[in-house]
Amino acid sequence: MSRLLFEFHRLETIRYISHLDMLRLFQRAFYRSGLPLEFSQGYNPHLKFNLAAPLPLGATAAGEYGEIELGAEVEPELFLDKLAPQLPGGLTLAGAAVLEDNSPALPSLVEAASYEAEPAGFSDLLSAQRAGAAIGGLMAADEVAIQKKTKKGKTVTVNIRPHIFETEALYSSIGLLKVKMLLKAGSAGGVAPAVVLGKLNDFTGGLMPAENWSLHRSGLYCLLDGQMNPLTEGMCFIQWIKK
């Protein structure tokens, strides 16, 4: 028995698949890999496998993590060698480690995610100024309200401002380069980057619609002693093996 942590990157070719699609993709890769798999009990046994946090549809990503329980001791090197050739183009493995028994479940650790949104179609100086002003407006607000549908279909108003930790615009000589965001994420709730970009669009009066941003998730974070840390800091393992 062993539990492995692995890091992967998602590139452009498969950015348009959903979280459930990602789970299926990995499951099939594991089935093909010939690794000793471990299943849950019951009539519909499934792999003991988790991804740290759902990736938004359309986002590329670096620094994503998954964990899986295997039915035998497997060295990280072997794990990477077996799994890598089974992943489709557009999904690359960056590294792996064997987790200690006391390491917490991966999804429970996630506290925040950082995103980079690049403008697709309006990268000029004018929009750069507008983006800057919109971000200023957003961060200065005490409350940023959005309408949200509950599971029962009721519409409620939620203040997402506490979920927006940081937002920043980066510029090049010709205009807006990207907008960086650090947003609350994880099982205790959070805010989707598209929602924040939608709000920024509101602040510009509808000049930067959400479909005009190309989204990238640059990292996942956990909270240790009140500080945001890279997710791996919260996991217990001895040696990280780079692919």
Binding site: T13, I14, Y16, I17, S18, L20, D21, R24, L25, Q27, R28, A29, F30, Y31, R32, L37, F39, Y43, N44, P45, L57, G58, Q86, P88, G89, G90, A120, G121, A210, E211, N212, S214
Partner: protein, 595 residues
């Protein structure tokens, strides 16, 4: 300035399930376009998740792509939101593998699975910028070929296709590509190329025949091209063990309708239920040997990562030594958590035993198709099972722990009477009561009722469909009846869709005008109830001055020329006439024998 890639990215960010349009699936084949003799795109006129479930697509993809000289890419019908994006941004329909527009390919092949896909075919051609009628196409346009079960009467869509491949495609299509590559190399024009293909067995070139009418009634086809075959005979793969068995099909990221591996146990069906087109047009029965099936299953699991394999056929329990096969499969995958499923189970105790062997502990619901609720009507349609036999099969299923059944029935079958329809309700009530007594708990029972559509190349091809009003009346009768039985989920097929299916299933070439008109009015994806608009279809028929009833409700006499009479799909019309007589005899003699 935005390039095509940025444009498509922007479109993808605005549609549901963008993975329908991005390709790059596991096992998808990428080939260099400059390095092949011939480029084909296989077009499936339905949404991605439907098309990706189709076995024929997997077979042809492998049959073509295993040859280095050819490439086959895929394209599916865009959903309404994507179509809107494509039209607004003027992006032509593109193939998934390379992202290239369809117009850049040599051959576009449509899979015609059933009649309600026709408007989508026209729409896809239009989105691709290919003239929808073949007479308007030029040397620079791709050739357009059709295949699949609907080609056993392709007449309503004949003017949209340069040719059809009738019958099994896995050997015929590579042969077609080889011929085509040769003709293209010789620098021939469109007309000469089509002519040069004409001696390929199974190829039907509609423009070589002219349809004729007498007083507005179809009177037959005449050959306008010397040497064109009459009848055109379908292609038959002789040995399934030597045929392509696709072990590495593209594995979709998003969930396909049938999201599992599939191995065809056998093609054709020896049962010959008289309403069933598949039972006739896929004859003769050809089996894959146990060894081939087990090998294929191992390969499929290794190359796809699927955890479920469907053992597909028209009637799985008719596979000889099926219990041995399942034993061998279970042994081959011991401890591997690979599931097998057997679709199309016959309603008898043997099948129940099989299902038990296959499912081993996973208890969901079993699906059966009694088709009719009275012994008489089942005898007429050639489904030779008695109600007693059906009930003991259900008993056996309940005893081993199945918790629910899905039952399929049909209304409007030839010789059906009101009592037969009412019997469907009685039958299901009996099932429910019986189960309650046996298991002491509630049974999960769903009942689905479709409407009989007379299809070409079946013994019932001459019979009319019951009128639309009558379909609705019989459905009302069922709704009323089922309302009184709690705990049964009753669903029915849209009457108007079945009516339309009947129009085109036995249609002739005059219907092309209706199809084009309906498409112009906005009809597409008619198999989806949220898109299907009978109002638009009615308008199309009216504007073309064609009465759909003249097709759906027509009672052909045995002497009438049939619009599909020039196609030979494996079973002779003499045989079909005899089978029809047998059916009517069965109906006549029933009362006498059972008094």
């Amino acid at each position: 300035m935005t390039g095509l890639k940025e444009k498509i990215d922007m479109m993808l960010r605005q549609v549901q399930k963008p993975a329908r349009y991005t390709g790059s699936e596991w096992n998808a084949v990428q080939k260099d376009h400059t390095n092949v003799d011939l480029k084909m795109v296989l077009a499936f006129p339905d949404l991605y998740e439907v098309g990706m479930s189709n076995l024929g697509l997997k077979v042809l993809y492998e049959a073509v792509n295993r040859n280095d000289n050819y490439l086959m890419e895929r394209v599916f019908a865009p959903a309404a939101d994507m179509e809107e994006q494509m039209r607004v941004h003027k992006v032509p329909l593109f193939a998934l593998e390379s992202g290239r527009p369809l117009a850049e390919f040599d051959l576009v092949g449509f899979s015609l699975q059933y009649e309600l896909c026709y408007s989508t075919v026209i729409n896809m051609l239009d989105l691709a910028g290919i003239p929808i009628c073949c007479r308007d196409r030029t040397d620079s346009d791709p050739l357009v070929v059709g295949g699949g079960p609907s080609t056993c009467n392709p007449e309503p869509v004949a003017s949209f296709f340069d040719f059809f491949l009738i019958g099994d495609g896995e050997e015929a299509l590579p042969e077609l590509l080889e011929k085509l590559a040769g003709l293209k190399k010789a620098g021939l024009g469109r007309k000469e190329i089509i002519k040069g293909l004409s001696d390929l067995e199974g190829l039907y070139i509609p423009s070589f025949y002219e349809d004729q009418y007498n007083d507005g009634i179809y009177s037959g086809l005449v050959c306008t091209e010397p040497g064109a075959p009459l009848p055109v005979r379908k292609r038959v793969v002789k040995d399934l063990d030597k045929a392509v068995c696709p072990a590495a099909p593209p594995v979709s990221y998003l969930q396909a309708i049938h999201d599992r591996g599939v191995i065809e146990l056998f093609r054709g069906c020896s049962r010959g239920c008289r309403f069933c087109q598949a039972g006739f047009i896929y004859r003769p029965v050809r089996r894959r040997s146990r060894e081939t099936v087990v090998e294929a299953a191992k390969k499929t699991v290794a190359l796809t990562g699927y955890d479920e394999i469907s053992l597909s056929s028209l009637s799985s329990c008719d596979y000889p030594d099926i219990d041995l096969l399942i034993e061998e499969l279970n042994a081959a995958f011991q401890g591997r958590k690979i599931k097998f499923s057997l679709p199309s189970l016959r309603l008898d105790s043997y099948s129940v035993k099989l299902a038990e062997q296959v499912h081993r502990g996973r208890r969901s619901s079993l699906t059966f198709a009694p088709e009719a609720a009275t012994d008489r009507l089942r005898k007429v349609i050639g489904k030779n099972l008695s109600t007693g036999e059906i009930f003991s099969a259900l008993d056996a299923a309940v005893e081993v722990g199945w918790q629910g059944f899905k039952l399929y029935f049909m209304i409007g079958l030839p010789t059906e009477e009101r009592a037969d329809v009412e019997s469907i309700v009685d039958f299901c009530r009996d099932v429910r009561t019986r189960f309650k007594k046996k298991a002491g708990k509630k049974l999960d029972l769903s009942v689905s009722v479709s409407t009989f559509v007379p299809k070409a190349h079946t013994p019932f091809q001459w019979e009319p469909q019951i009128s639309l009003a009558e379909i609705e009346e019989r459905q009302r009768l069922l709704r009323e009846g089922f309302k009184k039985i709690p705990g049964i989920r009753f669903s029915w097929h849209e009457a108007e869709a079945s009516f339309l299916e009947a129009v085109f299933a036995r249609g002739d070439r005059r219907l092309a005008s209706v199809l084009e008109k309906a498409w112009q009015l906005g009809c597409r994806l008619d198999g989806w109830s949220e898109h299907f608009s009978f109002k638009l279809w009615k308008q199309a028929f009216e504007e073309c001055s064609i009465r759909p009833e003249d097709y759906a409700n027509r009672n052909f006499s045995l002497e009438d020329p049939l619009p599909w009479g020039h196609l030979h799909c494996g079973v002779s019309f003499d045989y079909l006439i005899r089978e029809r007589e047998n059916a009517l005899d069965d109906a006549r003699n029933w009362g006498v024998e059972n008094e």
